[in-house]
Amino acid sequence: MSAVLVADQLTKWYGPRLAVDHVSFVVASGEIVGLLGPNGSGKTTILRIFAGYLRPSSGTARIDGLDVVGDALAARRHVGYVPEDAPLYPGMRVREFLSFMGRLKRLTAAALTRAVDAAVERLDLGPMAATQIGRLSRGYRQRVAIAQALLGDPSLLILDEPTNGLDPRQIIEMRDVIRSLGGERTVVVTSHILGEMERVADRVAILLAGQLLGVHAVRPSHDGRRFRLHIRGEEEQVRLCLAGVPGVAAVAIDDECRTSPATYLVDAEHPSVSEAVAGAVVRAGFGLLSLEPAPVDLEALFLRLTGDGTR
């Protein structure tokens, strides 16, 4: 897959304060990547640099090969951006606002009508199309903001805290919307809520104090280095057996699956280790009831990478 977004040694100073510290990462086409970190970790600053709102102090940011500073206007045509809190013009009606934004994105009259219709349908805004934005609920305003970002068919969607301030039902709906956008488009989304990232992103980039601590796959299909085994046998012996397999980095009882016999979570150095693990379990005479890929425990990963938060 080709790289849609490339950050290379991206750095941003706000006066004497270093907000983003030499951050480098790549997002491939069709991926949903989450930027995860506490408030003030530099997530929004990175998104704003890619959206063209901020200029980096040093380093480069490229979208589809276009430098966001050197080819600013061209790069912005490849991006649909939804800022935090979805700022919109409250006096405009939904369709009027979308038409306005479509015209700014240089859509021709025919293409504009098609694009607005498609965005309205995609975000289920039909009943609200003639409503003033100021009268919409928070959830619908967020949808309108995403709808404007889809105009012009950008290859990259940037969503800053899209579930902020939404009620639980709206959060679920927004999550579905974001998931549905993945695959056909590249999506970069920020959140400081771990659970949101687990449900939405394929990979997460964890940030703290402007530094990128790591980029990790959240979904097993993209990594496969963590798997869940349901094994019949004495717990301690099973643990020893699993830990003794070359390539196994960590073994833990899966507390969330309170099964009997126990379920184990194994972190391996490579996905192929699962074969060796299965062989070792069978050879040792334990009953291997199931073996399946398991998603990364984002909470544990986050805590491990961010330490006590004082870095």
Binding site: G52, Y53, R76, V79, P83, P87, R103, L104
Partner: protein
Amino acid sequence: MRNFVTLLAKEEKAIFSSPIAFAIVAVYLLLMGYTFTLMLFLNRTAELVRVFFQAAVLFLLIVPVITMRLLAEERRSGTLEILLTSPVREIEIVLAKYAASLTLVGLMLALTASDAIVLGVYADPDWGPIYSGFLGLLLLAATLAAIGLAVSGLTSNQIVAAVVAMGVGILLWMIDSIGYLLPDPFDTIVTNLSLVAHFTPFATGAVFLSDLGFFLTVILVCLLLSMRTLARR
């Protein structure tokens, strides 16, 4: 150019769908009508010099109210982020907002032209000073609008934008007074910064390129400052 037209249409709608614009025009016309009637019956001369000065003073107070929301409101509500991340140039945003504010000022000036029409119907005025007076008013209002736009770009608070722009305008209007206290060449410099010093010749029928150049220079500097404010991020 297409973006300019799109942005201008949005700004025009924002201005003319607001009750502020209608209140401003109504108050302006009321005060100007009062002044014109008073001058006509007291002086009984077919000229508009005092009307022009009255309009100039009103513009010092009114134009900052028109321009206060242009960028400050976008900054406060966060919509500036939406605009600046669209494939739009800063110059297009600045010019569209500036042109929209000039539309309202132009409307007010056009309505003031009714005074000249009344003079033309009932007397035989010297049209030269009237034409130059309107040109001077247009340049003064355009200068104040450019100052107001530049100040509006520096803050997210509309009231602050209006008050500061008003202060800058009034200070530039009467800054020549301090020239009497300053030694040469500072007295000349200060006098040449004065809005009233450059407006008076227009109002009295004398058009100098230097005065025209002054207003155009201030307008240009303020528009560049507005663009710089948007670009610095």
